[in-house]
């Protein structure tokens, strides 16, 4: 697997730190980790990185965030043709079936319910990037 450029979107700095740490524990090859505290900040980073030579490989996003939540973020991302194929993996405590179905319909590629172990994150990343 090539070195990855990853964006973590979560309003909790503690959770962003946890996800960063799981990349190391799961031995995922990481080139750059970007962080955003909500969907609006994440869209700005995605737009900026679209101008960079190497684009983002994957976005990890929480659902419940102020300013712009995870569902709005995925919907706005998918509404832009340029970002339609950027993979989004949702990590959230909300594991109800209706929520997972709704996120699939919006265009999220994967879903991990918290609590989650590093191995689950590694498997999902391989699953999503391997499908491309």
């Amino acid at each position: 697997m090539q070195s990855l450029r990853i964006l973590i979107v979560d309003d909790s700095p503690a959770m962003r730190a946890y996800v960063r740490r799981t990349f190391q524990l799961a031995s995922l090859p990481i080139e750059t980790v970007f962080e955003a505290a909500n969907g609006q900040e994440a869209l700005e980073i995605v737009n900026a990185e679209n101008e960079a030579p190497n684009k983002l490989d994957l976005v990890f996003a929480d659902l419940n965030m102020p300013v712009m939540n995870g569902e709005e973020f995925v919907a706005k991302l998918r509404a832009n043709e340029r970002d339609a194929s950027l993979p989004v993996l949702i990590i959230s405590t909300d594991a109800t079936q209706r929520r997972v179905l709704k996120l699939k319909e919006l265009g999220a590629q994967g879903y991990i319910s918290k609590p989650c172990q590093p191995e689950m994150i590694r498997l999902k990343v391989h699953q999503i990037l391997g499908e491309q």
Partner: protein, 173 residues
């Protein structure tokens, strides 16, 4: 002679008590899952909640709405909070997370236990959770379905208060 009014009240009280038992069990189960997987801790035993507020504790509040509405509350000893935050952040031996880090991690812990509880208790429901509020314990937490958990690291009290109970008849089959 049986008073039908009293019978109806008794039946409702029984149903409510049964529902509270399920909620209490789901709160403990949700906390155990989160602590096992992400905090390297465990629930040793659970009991009736302790009087609130307790000294030297943090209180965490998470509001939720959607197919039901209410508030999740957590009250946790400072020392327990520090130990759990260190485990969550992977702090090296001899180092301690600072106050801000402890509060951030306790907010995330409250968020995860609340979400895990709602997913257990109402699998077909849809809920939105607020960002957690974390503060020094100063006032008594409202009464509700509550359990006190004895952890490997100390004590944690959890409460659920519904302001709008879930109407299960309105949920998809």
């Amino acid at each position: 002679m049986i008073d039908p009014t009293n019978s109806a009240v008794a039946a409702l009280t029984d149903a409510s008590a049964g529902s509270n038992d399920v909620m209490a069990s789901d709160i403990v189960g949700a906390a155990r899952d989160v602590l096992n997987v992400m905090f390297f801790s465990d629930v040793l035993e659970d009991a009736d909640a302790l009087p609130s507020p307790r000294p030297d504790t943090l209180q965490v509040y998470v509001k939720f709405d959607g197919d039901g509405a209410g508030e999740f509350q957590m009250e946790i000893d400072d020392s327990t909070a520090q130990s759990l935050a260190g485990s969550f952040l992977g702090a090296e031996a001899g180092t301690k997370p600072n106050t801000e880090e402890v509060q951030q991690v306790m907010g995330e812990l409250g968020n995860m236990v609340c979400g895990a509880f709602l997913s257990r208790y109402e699998r077909d429901g849809l809920f939105n959770l607020s960002s957690p509020t974390v503060e020094r314990a100063s006032a008594a937490m409202p009464s509700g379905v509550a359990r006190s958990l004895q952890l490997l690291d100390g004590t944690m009290d959890l409460r659920i208060n519904w302001s709008v109970p879930v109407n299960r008849q309105s949920l998809p089959a």
